[in-house]
Subunit: 276 residues, 2 copies
DNA sequence: CGACACCTTGAAGAGGTTCAAGAAATGTGG
DNA sequence: CCACATTTCTTGAACCTCTTCAAGGTGTCG
């Protein structure tokens, strides 16, 4: 399998542009084999020839700038399924660009309440919560074996002082997260169970599609309980709502395998308030 | 009334430090008179002698850096109650530091659903949502006559390339907003009505206290409906929950005037899950 | 193959919403 | 400055959605 630098992906909450051939990016783990294993835990790598570069790094860099970017991503780190990349309270040092795998982030209140604040996949950046107080305020848990690029934040700041497009990019990543969370607040604050689950499925499949996966099929990496936590519902309600969608021939569900049979109907459910 | 630069306020979601005397900052509008009115709409000003500087700008700047900072805040702008500072879809140009007044920000979905995403007061910065797509994705509405410092974002980026502490500050402001929204997601996703309202009141009064207002008394600048939208409740539920708090002698409520009689009980309500 | 985690489904119950009516405050114009 | 219109707030009663509790089923992994 060859790496092709011809594919460019711009990820947007609302809008997805696909250019070039990304068919070869179809599995989460296939890159790992190519890296070799000088060190089982951490591997020195370069952004400049990474297929995901266009997802997590700014475009239009000069060769010289790209070269300097390679210094930012000092190392990679592998995270086994079920373990944490970082944890609430830990010192903040780096942002992490997900290379492979799937994460959830969750916050907890003092009294043990738990809230999944998001699910993150390849090309997305996590750790932004740690900047403000120099320690992380949420947990990042790998929902499958994963690999991340470790980007020490002081290096990012240093370099983004010199490379304007990197600076702008960092700002955009943070702003995008703010806007994403606005969307979640809208969901949690005003939607009913079916609308929440429909929104969730459409969002997941859209992001997966932007990464070369199917528009209609997906494998959930999280449990019903984790979905429920994210959507502000109990796991039973999530399960029941899935069943209802199945009955209405909107989706097929076999455990964590979901096939969307009717995207339009899902969209209608999300926008149901408009009909009233 | 003299301006005193001796008061320093660090605002934190969890933690508030107060240093020095801030008693003189007791009214929203009192500064206006001093500015004069060369122009009713926009007034040229300087950060370097602004009382709110420590709230919205980084600390420990040299005199020369402070001087350059004055160039960032090109102008001020007054916003009449009920009008918008910016609106969903408008081109993003600037961040705004609130000088006086009180705002709400809200997002709307295509189908006309509405969600208040936050309430902002003096010293807080709004507009961060606009960075990612170069246009705003929410409305900012003044809930009382307000004045903001307009900070053109390209100027901020330019200057934060040269002043490290400003760069760090901008990052912190964005990260703080992300963490704040995590808290709101926790609230919306896992709390019951009483817990939500209690959390809301404690948060408001804490922020007001950090600005020199009472620890126990506050005037709500928003309607029950706006509170409800923010908390994911209907206005009737907000009203009923207020009434319940009154019955239990936790607060006194006269329309928008609220006096907290028992902060501990409010805290207990928030942490009620711990008792189970 | 058995233990464990995860998922589904049912029935009862609680919390919040909806609809409705009236009261209180606020703003407006004469 | 008062009267009227409008907005905002409160409260009640019926209803509905989601939760809770419970039991059984399915899948997975050592």
């Amino acid at each position: 399998m060859e790496r092709q630098d011809s594919f460019l992906i711009f990820i947007n909450w609302q809008e997805v542009q696909l250019q070039g051939n990304i068919d070869q990016y179809q599995g989460y783990h296939q890159f790992d084999a190519k890296i070799g294993n000088m060190n089982p835990e951490t591997i020195k790598v370069a952004c400049s020839n990474c297929n995901l570069r266009e997802l997590c790094m700014p475009m239009g860099l000069s060769l010289e700038e790209l070269d300097r970017l390679d210094d930012v991503v000092a190392i990679r780190r592998k995270i086994k399924r079920g373990t944490t990349l970082f944890r609430n309270g830990e010192k903040f040092m780096s942002l992490y660009a997900i290379r492979t795998g799937f994460f959830k982030t969750c916050v907890a209140s003092e009294d043990g309440r738990d809230q999944v604040t998001g699910f993150q996949m390849a090309g997305e950046v996590i750790g932004l919560d740690g900047i403000v107080n120099d320690h992380h305020t949420c947990d990042a848990v790998a929902l499958e074996d994963a690999e991340v690029c470790v980007m020490p934040f002081d290096r990012i700041e240093e370099l983004s002082r010199e490379i304007n497009s990197l600076q702008r990019h960092v700002h955009k990543i943070m702003s995008r997260e703010i806007v994403r969370e606005h969307g979640v607040m809208l969901l949690l604050g005003s939607m009913r169970a079916e609308e929440r689950l429909a929104t969730f499925l459409l969002n997941l499949v859209q992001r997966l599609h932007a990464r070369g996966f199917s528009q209609s099929e997906l494998v959930l990496r999280m449990t019903r309980e984790e979905i429920g936590s994210f959507l502000g519902l109990k796991l039973e309600t999530v399960s029941r709502t899935f069943s209802k969608f199945v009955e209405e021939n909107i989706v097929e569900v076999k455990q964590r395998h979901v096939r969307i049979l009717n995207t339009e109907l899902l969209r209608d459910i999300v926008n149901s308030k408009a009909c009233i």
